[in-house]
């Protein structure tokens, strides 16, 4: 179509044959979710560009560029490995503690970056939200995209480290890593989409999220083995603790990239738990999108 001039008469004919569409978001009814997804799919190129923009603009004028996105997690890793691992003695109970730590930290940082980035994404793009119609889910999704990119870089380092320490072996247990990644992505996206919409109406959400994410990190077995926590809990609380989807994902990642050389007790039924968490997560994601589409009608005036 590019470059082909259309005569006014042809334009009228084409317009006449087009069906009527509602302006703006395709609506909030149950059946509309599909058309909203189609709308987002149509804008996938833009999604890619926005993700790239976010990544490019972040470290644009710094000399080291992307290197900075690695420095933060690596420093965190170093501090935890020394302070928690050596000083507090966690490394004595967990062999290859650095890998254990890094596996959990990598997947947790993905969760934290998606939720944190998505929550503030609508506000950060308020210029666009107010001036152009786009399916607004694009903005939290582009935050997801850029978080995945950062995750992949860290993930490559994790693989290298695991290979060096000899904890990387090939086998079906690697699927736990994939499962953990999928579960984190589903939940983080659902929460991110929901909170990004709420944040427009109540700006406190983004600060609250920072605090909760910090708390959440200690609530997942990144710095200690999960059995340390469950040993001190009544059984019902231990079940809740273990079935937290982020905990499952962290354990899944450790299972995939650290466990092969360890004789620590594996979590029973991990695959099933991940699967259930995934199914529930998809339902949650669907619900979050519905809430988002209901709230987004007033975005332009609230910003």
């Amino acid at each position: 179509m590019a470059g082909i001039q259309e005569s006014p008469a042809q334009r009228i004919e084409r317009l006449d044959s087009l069906p009527w569409e509602g302006a703006g978001s395709p609506g909030v009814g149950i059946g509309r979710t599909t058309s909203q997804l189609v709308d987002i799919w149509r804008h996938r190129e833009l999604l890619g560009l926005l993700t790239r923009r976010e990544l490019k603009a972040r470290y644009k004028d710094s000399t080291l560029g992307f290197f900075w996105s690695l420095i933060k997690p690596l420093t965190q890793l170093l501090i935890y490995a020394i302070v928690v691992g050596e000083f507090l003695g966690a490394a004595r109970n967990v062999e290859n503690f650095a890998i254990y730590l890094f596996a959990g930290l990598t997947i947790y940082l993905l969760f934290s970056e998606v939720v944190g980035g998505a929550t503030s994404s609508i506000i950060a793009n308020s210029g666009l939200v107010k001036k152009v119609y786009l399916p607004r889910e694009i903005f939290p999704l582009s935050a997801v995209g850029s978080a995945i990119f950062n995750f992949l870089i860290q993930f490559v380092i994790l693989l290298i480290a695991a290979a060096v320490f000899g904890t990387l072996t090939f086998g079906p247990h690697l699927l736990y890593g994939l499962g953990g990644f999928a579960v984190v992505l589903i939940y983080a996206t659902a929460i991110g989409i929901l909170l990004s919409a709420l944040n427009v109406y109540l700006r406190d959400v983004q600060y609250l999220v920072e605090v909760v994410l910090m708390l959440f990190m200690w609530g997942t077995p990144i710095l200690y083995h999960w059995s340390f926590a469950t040993d001190r809990m009544p059984p019902w609380l231990a079940e809740i603790y273990l079935n937290n989807p982020v905990t499952l994902a962290v354990i899944g990642f450790q299972e995939a990239f650290w466990a092969p050389t360890s004789d620590a007790e594996p979590l029973p039924l991990l695959a099933l738990r991940l699967l259930i968490a995934g199914v529930v997560g998809v339902a949650l994601l669907f619900g979050a999108q519905r809430v988002f589409s209901r709230l987004q009608g007033n975005f332009a005036q609230e910003l």
């Binding site: 569409e21 703006g24 923009r53 210029g127 152009v132 007033n298």
Partner: protein, 395 residues
């Protein structure tokens, strides 16, 4: 073949804004029970129904806060109406702000791709148009520079250049034509004309009534969220001027006891030398406009002004006693000033006379806007506001 088909249908569209005073969590919790007291409803649009035909150019006019931009955003889908429905078909491009979505840290090239994608072009199409876009913008040398180093003019040029290369069926334009230098505005207007010729539909929000008369074939006048006039642009702009004048008079009335506004124009009369009262003005006639002024408390320095407007609102003549170098004696009792326009040569059409009382720094004390009018008969050889004997020599 169909001549035109509707492309936008608004039925009973209303939009309510809730104005809230508080925002933080603490304030909300503290005020939770009484939140109704802290909100105020504001109807930006009330029950608007419109149908817009393809190929037409529509001007939305109205004073500030009358809901024009809200209506445009509702058509564009940026704002969802509280009630009613907006239906639309065809590809839409909204120019609500030039360069919305430009990121200062990215280069011009990256921003062109991003912006084009926001406006709905695919990567392939942008590749195809890229050279055209850069050429039209005239900033090829800076295309790989971050846009934060651009001057505002360069920024606007690039943004506009992207926007016009999108191939929309329906173009929404919100006052963006007011930015940029004159050459750039010309470029914008030329582009809009060629869009018209290509059968695209344009909806325009503007404060320039001249532009509405010039470009649009239909105008919608909004007042406090309702449509008060929908039809011919000339009539719409005239109605709008009446509304503005009424509002100005109200404001004046509200401040009536202030001594500053105690001056007034009592009377304006017009005579054409050698013709009957109310007769048409022929080219070459002398026009006499007499204005009578008065001031309650006395005004030492003042001037009288005369302005003649065409139907489209264009000023075709204007002068003041100050321009003529006349020092008027202090105004208190009624005083009459007569402007004589010798050998006037107005082109055919209707003209309006406005009179003003001003202080010498140009502050208007009292205006009688378009208080009188006269007609100049049809001249078959030319159009426009200036009359000249026409002779065409070929060869």
């Amino acid at each position: 073949m169909v001549k035109s088909v509707p492309v936008v249908q608004l039925s009973n569209v209303s939009k309510r804004f809730v104005i809230r005073k508080e925002k933080s969590l603490k304030e909300r919790i503290v005020n939770a029970g009484r939140s109704a007291k802290f909100r105020e409803d504001f109807w930006a649009l009330r029950d608007i129904s419109l149908e817009i035909e393809s190929g037409s150019t529509i001007g939305l006019i109205g004073s500030n806060g009358s809901g024009k931009s809200t209506l445009l955003k509702a058509i564009g889908g940026i704002i969802e109406p509280t009630s009613g429905s907006v239906l639309r078909r065809g590809r839409l491009a909204a120019l609500l702000e030039l360069g919305a979505g430009f990121h200062p840290d990215l280069t011009g090239r990256e921003n062109v791709y991003l912006n084009a994608s926001i406006l709905g072009l695919s990567r392939k199409q942008t590749d195809f148009y890229f050279d055209d876009i850069v050429e039209f913008s005239g900033i090829a040398n800076f295309i790989d520079t971050q846009v934060k180093f651009y001057s505002s003019g360069m920024y606007v040029r690039l943004a506009f250049s992207v926007a016009i290369h999108v191939d929309p069926d329906l173009l929404l334009v919100d006052e963006v034509l007011a930015v940029g230098d004159e050459a750039f505005q010309r470029k914008c207007l030329d582009k809009i004309r060629s869009f018209q010729a290509e059968g695209r539909t344009i909806i325009l929000v503007t404060h320039s009534l001249g532009q509405v008369n010039e470009l649009c074939d239909r105008a919608v006048l909004l007042k406090a969220g309702s449509v008060v006039f929908d039809g011919e642009p000339q009539k719409a702009t005239a109605t709008f001027r009446d509304i503005l004048e009424d509002r100005r008079l109200e404001e004046v009335a509200a401040h009536a006891d202030e001594p500053i506004n105690q001056g007034r124009i009592l009377d304006v009369t017009m005579t054409v030398v050698g013709r009957e009262q109310g007769a048409a003005v022929e080219p070459g006639d002398d026009i006499e406009v007499a204005m009578t002024f008065e001031h309650d408390t006395g005004m030492p320095n003042w001037m009288a002004a005369l302005q003649i407007d065409s139907v489209s609102g264009q000023v075709v003549y204007g002068s003041t006693t100050k321009r003529a170098g006349i020092k008027l004696s202090p105004l208190r009792e009624a005083q009459t000033v007569t402007f004589v326009l010798k050998n006037s040569n107005f082109g055919s059409g209707k003209y309006f006379i406005s009179a003003s009382l001003m202080d010498t720094s140009g502050v208007h004390m009292h205006d009688l806007v378009q208080v009188l009018s006269f007609n100049v008969p049809y001249y078959s050889l030319a159009v426009g506001t200036v009359h000249a004997e026409t002779e065409i020599v070929v060869g």
